[in-house]
């Protein structure tokens, strides 16, 4: 039994730094290369020294696959390719290749320019890194080398997000990255065919939640925003520039239009236009509705949402501001938060998951005072609301995906240990398959059955089919072939005996049996043969029985009738050694007919 080995370097019973090593069939594949937003030290990057303590890493990794542009999935890529020195192939979808460098650059600016760190990758490194990326399209089958094949499936979640199917020989794995099984306002739902992988590696961010209907959450969100601005409060919505932001913008835009509201709505960072351009250009990755109507009306041209300027922070009166980044760990959203937090008429709505260590995580856990590195203390009096708009699959979605692709094993990553435990039990119980949840640095070994390609002789298959169909139908009967396995140049074939003789170039020694049955049947021998043929056809339904020149053949058994018109006929039955069963059966049949 060949094994496959999976070691999470990040995302093992954890959220926030996806990086999983997969080894199968002698190939090593890195699934995502993410960065942890909650740390400022070396813990933010995966532990690459696990792969190779010293020396070049390229020889140890056959390829890197990036599932989508979120930094917890691609944030460490420039570090790996430009600072650790990985030079092998990197795969991601076209939109990911277009958008990832922008997010990487934003993040780099925050880390280097605001926090003053020096040992970090540069803008040039991001560009050089992205140049090395091979962009793939959905469902394209990409041969990384002669044995390693990958294929991307639509994952929903964010623009360009993909799940990857990976195959080496007969072993296959599906890695989901982050995905979403329900369509939203701008993206479709994840989809995969029944590819029956040996292993499904799935995220489990919302392993225990079955989320209430999307509509309810949306209504709730709009109500909260509306109530707050009506009272003159300011609403801060920390988002990542691309992804959820677009969905929430579409939501607010239509609501403002419908309710005829005049409160200002801003989208910060000037990224709106650029981000929306990406959505326009990659509109084929959005959902059906947007694709269908894009010629007439572009969903990403907003009427009510205006670009934000820093000077607006202190403007009096109500407003709604979308600001990056999404977890309040740095940048503009954090600056606005510091200003607005001490006032109770204001509100912050966290529309997504926050990793541990971020301000977002702290306030969601009820922190009323946040202390910053420079000893600054901010009191949190504003309302803090959490709305799960993150497009991750919930427990139901995960079960649905398992149903779609029918894996033989499941491995959970990108989630919290306790919740994973719950889901693991559910999966094992419901699907009767093994489920694993290794921690970071822990290797999980999975046995997979081997399947070797083999060519089966059509003659052999036809002979089997004839035999099988001749027997009374029985759904429990298994079909069995008997042949000779031939191995030549490492290629396998299953042949019948004559084909095997040809294959090895020998003349076969044939053993043949002939017995005689005597029959009193006056008249020409040909007539007798006709009668016999009809009798046999009745008894041997489903078999090929032919007659020519008075010779009957039942498959490979020959029957010949001889004798003068007025005398006893000799019926010769003749068959080769391997047809003993059929030959003796027919002989017996003829003998019983004579008596």
């Amino acid at each position: 039994m060949p094994d496959m080995k999976i070691t999470p370097l990040g995302a093992g019973q954890d959220v926030g730094r996806s990086c999983i090593l997969l080894s199968m069939g002698g190939k090593n594949i890195m699934l995502d290369c993410g960065m942890h937003m909650g740390y400022n030290d070396e813990r933010r990057f995966p532990d690459f020294s696990y792969i190779v303590p010293e020396g070049p890493i390229t020889s140890q990794i056959d390829c890197v696959i990036i599932s989508h542009f979120h930094l917890d999935h691609c944030g460490a890529l420039p570090y790996m390719s430009e600072m650790i020195g990985y030079t092998g192939p990197i795969y991601m979808t076209h939109p990911t290749k277009a958008i990832a460098p922008i997010l990487l650059e934003d993040m780099r600016k925050v880390v280097v320019e605001r926090k003053g760190e020096s040992n970090f990758f540069t803008s040039q490194m991001i560009k050089d890194c992205i140049k090395k990326v091979t962009a793939v399209t959905l469902h394209q089958s990409v041969m990384v080398d002669n044995e390693l094949e990958i294929k991307a499936y639509y994952a929903g979640h964010v623009l360009g997000a993909a799940m990857f199917w990976i195959r080496v020989g007969s072993q296959s794995v599906v890695y989901t990255g982050d995905y979403n099984m329900t369509p939203d306002r701008h993206l479709g739902a994840a989809w995969i065919d029944k590819c029956r992988p040996d292993l499904l590696i799935t995220e489990s961010t919302y392993a225990t939640t079955i989320r209430d209907s999307k509509r309810c959450r949306e209504r709730d969100f709009l109500k909260k925003v509306h109530e707050c601005v009506e009272k003159g409060g300011k609403v801060l919505i920390p988002v990542f520039a691309l992804g959820r932001a677009q969905e929430l913008c579409i939501l607010l835009e239509t609501y403002w239009e419908r309710m005829n509201l005049k409160y200002p709505v801003y989208f910060a960072l000037g990224l709106t236009e650029k981000a929306n351009n990406y959505y326009k250009m990659f509109i084929t990755w959005t959902n059906q509705k947007i694709r269908k109507t894009f010629v007439q009306r572009n969903m990403f041209d907003f009427k009510h949402i205006k670009p934000f300027d820093k000077s607006y922070i202190d403007n009096p009166g109500a407003m709604v501001v979308f600001a990056t980044p999404g977890m309040l760990h740095a940048g503009l959203s954090l600056n606005i938060f510091k200003k607005w937090a001490p006032y109770e008429q204001n509100m912050v709505i966290m529309p997504g998951f926050c990793v541990q260590g971020t301000v977002g995580h702290k306030i969601l856990n009820g922190a009323k005072k946040i202390e910053f590195e420079n000893r600054q203390v901010v009191e949190v009096k504003m309302a803090v609301e959490y709305m799960s708009f993150s497009a991750h699959a919930d427990a139901k979605g995960i079960m649905q995906l398992i149903q779609y692709c029918e894996p033989k094993n499941v491995l959970l990553v990108h989630g919290e240990a306790l919740k994973m435990e719950f889901l693991k039990e559910k999966i094992e119980k419901e699907f009767k398959i093994s489920c694993f949840m290794p921690a970071n640095g822990e290797t999980c070994t999975i046995n997979t059955p081997t399947k070797i390609p083999i060519d089966v002789s059509l003659r052999l298959l036809k002979a089997e089919a004839v035999r099988y169909n001749a027997l009374p139908p029985d759904p429990k009967r298994r079909r069995v072939v008997n042949g000779i396995l031939c191995v030549r140049d490492n290629r396998l074939s299953l042949l019948d005996i004559d084909e095997m003789c040809d294959e090895i170039g020998i003349n076969r020694h044939i053993i043949r049996f002939t017995s005689t049955v005597r029959l009193e049947d006056p008249g020409p021998a040909v007539k007798t043969a006709e009668k016999l043929k009809n009798l046999l056809s009745e008894k041997l339904e489903g078999w090929t029985i032919t007659i020519s020149d008075g010779n009957i053949s039942v498959e490979s058994v020959l029957i010949k009738v001889e004798g003068e018109d007025d005398s006893t006929k000799n019926i010769y039955v003749s068959w080769t050694n391997q047809d003993e069963d059929l030959g003796s059966y027919i002989l017996g049949l003829l003998q019983s007919m004579v008596q």
């Binding site: 039994m1 076209h94 962009a135 399209t137 959905l138 469902h139 394209q140 990409v142 294929k151 029944k194 650029k274 351009n277 250009m281 084929t284 894009f294 010629v295 059955p449 081997t450 399947k451 070797i452 390609p453 083999i454 060519d455 089966v456 059509l458 003659r459 298959l461 298994r478 079909r479 069995v480 072939v481 008997n482 042949g483 000779i484 396995l485 031939c486 191995v487 030549r488 074939s493 299953l494 019948d496 005996i497 095997m500 003789c501 294959e503 090895i504 020998i506 020694h509 044939i510 053993i511 043949r512 049996f513 002939t514 017995s515 005689t516 050694n577 391997q578 003796s584 002989l587 017996g588």
Partner: protein, 651 residues
């Protein structure tokens, strides 16, 4: 494998391949050549066309023919809604088709004729741009050709009188099979059947084979198809280009080493270099505009149009003519221009790089924003209310039989300052212009056909090294002349001359190609494989008997460990390969051990006879066979079998 050819127009191909018990249609091109025999359908009534004289063939008295034919400058035209020439429907029953594979949007316009009301039940596959742009082409056609009222009685009578009509009507091929375009709802239903595939996506066709669309470099989303079973590979190369234009470059590697290569849709204008033609077009346009005239380009709503807009706008800018407006008029102009800019994954690397900026891959979006380029659904559209001349106007249809182009030619034909420049290769420009004669406007012929020319195709075939090549007869070398006659002039016709066995297919004909298959692909479970101890039977060949249970899941064959035999019943013995005659002495000893002590042996020159008189049995042994004539009971025969098994050498 069998190949049928259903189209007589090699640039609008339609083949059917029977492969592994499946019927696979490769492309369904709609030949539009037939429309040239019809009178133009003006979008607004034209007094000139309406007042053309009737034509009656001399010495032919058929009152029903009255009014069906009109004459213009010595040419006769049918006065009816133009008809097209769809693929033959008599050779293959369309209800039996399993799959239709489409290579590009210029080769799919007959799809509704194949799939609608024919009992068609199969699958249709095309890339996303092929489907979308094919939809634009069909919607545009149906808007024009059905706009003039569907119920006006079609002229049919002339089809019975072709033999008395002057050429080119006299040479019309099977006009009775010509059809009007189907109704919009049929077109919509046909298009809704198409399943979208990406490049290099392996599509499983009923478990019997994989079909993969690979980039062909000809237009957005254009594909060649590779069909692969476990043992055979067929490559269908249709509408390919090795030039660098806006689409993704051709993927040649995927086409290599096919058992059968089918070549279709080569260039229709082998004598014209597309780059030179584009240059000529820019020059003619500049000269015309400088002289105060306008330029009309009859074009399709996608494809080369994008290149024309890009090159011409840059050229005019360089010539100080940036103020000249460019117009695109088509019912699908807005969709086509917008759509081309969201196909980042289907364009050349240079265009793709722009998307990462992010900027549109094609400059026409910027031209629209700066108002240099205007587009409108029709000539009377509000978008054209400030129509300015001189200008460059792009509109269809290139045949000049319907669409806005008809009206524009009527309008501009008498002015020698204006020019019409033909770029689409589908129609000979003199024939397109025939019903508008006499004209004073200048006419230029700058056909831009980026499909493979003959030398490129020959080179490609050499590089791809197929085992067999199939061609429509138009591309085949001319038939060899009889030995006495001088070689006909025709030998100079460009053709494909390949150093591989070549099959030439004609419309309506079928050809047998490829080899008969002898094996099916299956997988052998590792646990069963581990139990087999294969011995070396000959240098490099190992073998062992194998008994396996057979299962078929999702059309995939699997071999597993066999079921344990029913209690009491011994499993069938594995087949044995006896390779030499038995040692007769040993056989005698074996028989004695089994109780048959009366054996007598007679040795001859090339074998011997063993006689068991008590059991009424003879055994003939020679070099190749042992023949047992046994008149004893089954027990005797079984004893003999056992004895023979023991002493016939086997592998």
């Amino acid at each position: 494998m069998k190949l049928y050819c259903l189209s007589s127009d090699a640039s609008k191909p339609c083949f059917v391949l029977s492969f592994k018990e499946l019927l696979i249609m490769l492309d369904c091109g709609l030949s539009a050549h037939s429309v040239l025999n019809f009178l133009p359908l003006p979008p607004v009534p034209s007094t000139r066309l309406a007042s053309l004289p009737n034509y009656t063939p001399p010495h032919h008295n058929d009152p029903l023919l009255e009014g069906e034919l009109k004459e213009c400058c010595g040419r006769v035209f049918v006065d009816s809604i133009p008809e097209f020439c769809p693929p033959l429907d008599k050779v293959v029953d369309f209800s039996q088709l399993d799959v239709i594979l489409i290579s590009n949007y210029t080769c799919m316009l007959a799809l509704p004729f194949i799939t609608e009301e024919t009992g068609f039940k199969g699958q249709v596959y095309a890339t996303e741009p092929t489907l979308q742009i094919g939809r634009f082409y069909l919607e545009e056609l149906s808007e024009w050709v059905s706009a003039s009222g569907e119920d006006s009685g079609a002229a049919k009578r002339w089809k019975e009188a072709v033999h008395v009509l002057p050429p080119p009507l006299a040479d019309a091929v099977r006009p009775r099979a010509w059809r009007r375009l189907l109704a919009p709802q049929h077109i919509a239903r046909a298009l809704s059947r198409v399943r979208v595939v990406g490049y290099d996506e392996r599509v499983d066709i009923y478990g019997a084979l994989d079909a993969t669309a690979v980039s062909s470099g000809f237009c957005l989303g254009s594909a060649n198809w590779v069909l692969r079973s476990a043992h055979e590979k067929v490559a269908y190369v249709s509408g390919s280009s090795t030039l660098t234009t806006h689409p993704r470059p051709i993927n040649q590697a995927a086409l290599r080493g096919a058992d059968l290569l089918i070549l279709a849709a080569l260039t229709q204008t082998p004598a014209h270099n597309p780059d030179h033609m584009l240059g000529d077009l820019c020059v003619h346009a500049t000269v015309t505009l400088r002289g105060g005239g306008s330029v009309l380009c009859p074009v399709y709503p996608s494809g080369v149009l994008y290149d024309l807009l890009e090159c011409l706008s840059a050229h005019l800018e360089g010539a100080g003519l940036a103020h000249v407006p460019l117009y695109v008029v088509s019912p699908v102009a807005d969709s086509s221009l917008a759509y081309s800019n969201i196909l980042a994954e289907w364009v050349s690397a240079t265009k793709q790089a722009r998307v990462y900026v992010p900027e549109e891959p094609f400059p026409h979006a910027a031209l629209v924003r700066s108002s240099r380029l205007r587009h409108a659904r029709a000539l009377h559209d509000d978008a054209l209310s400030d129509f300015r001349q001189p200008c460059v106007l792009f509109c269809g249809h290139p045949s000049l039989r319907f669409g806005a182009a008809v009206h524009m030619v009527e309008l501009w034909a008498s002015n020698p300052l204006h020019a019409i420049i033909f770029t689409e290769p589908d129609f000979p420009h003199t024939e397109a212009l025939a019903p508008f004669q006499p004209i004073a406007m200048k006419a230029f012929h700058c056909p831009i056909d980026t499909s493979l020319n003959y030398s490129q195709a020959n080179k490609l075939v050499r590089e791809l090294r197929p085992r067999e090549l199939a061609l429509p007869d138009q591309y085949a070398p001319p038939a060899p002349a009889s030995s006495s006659a001088p070689p006909p002039r025709e030998t100079s016709r460009p053709h494909i001359s390949a150093d591989v066995p070549t099959l030439v297919v004609r419309r309506g004909a079928a050809l047998r190609a490829g080899t008969r298959r002898v094996a099916a692909r299956a997988t052998l479970s590792g646990s069963l494989a581990a139990r087999v101890a294969a011995r070396e039977l000959r240098a490099g060949v190992r073998g062992a008997p194998l008994r396996a249970s057979l299962s078929l899941r999702d059309s995939r064959l699997e071999l597993h460990s066999p079921p344990p035999g029913a209690p009491g019943a011994a499993p069938a013995p594995p087949p044995r390969l006896q390779c030499a005659p038995p040692d007769v002495d040993a056989l005698e000893r074996e028989l004695v051990r089994a109780g048959a002590t009366d054996a007598r042996v007679e040795r001859g020159a090339d074998g011997c006879i063993l006689h068991l008189p008590r059991h009424d049995t003879l055994v003939h042994v020679d070099r190749l066979a042992t023949h047992v004539f046994c008149e004893g009971g089954a027990d005797v025969r079984q004893a003999l079998r056992r004895a023979l098994h023991a002493c016939v050498p086997h592998l």
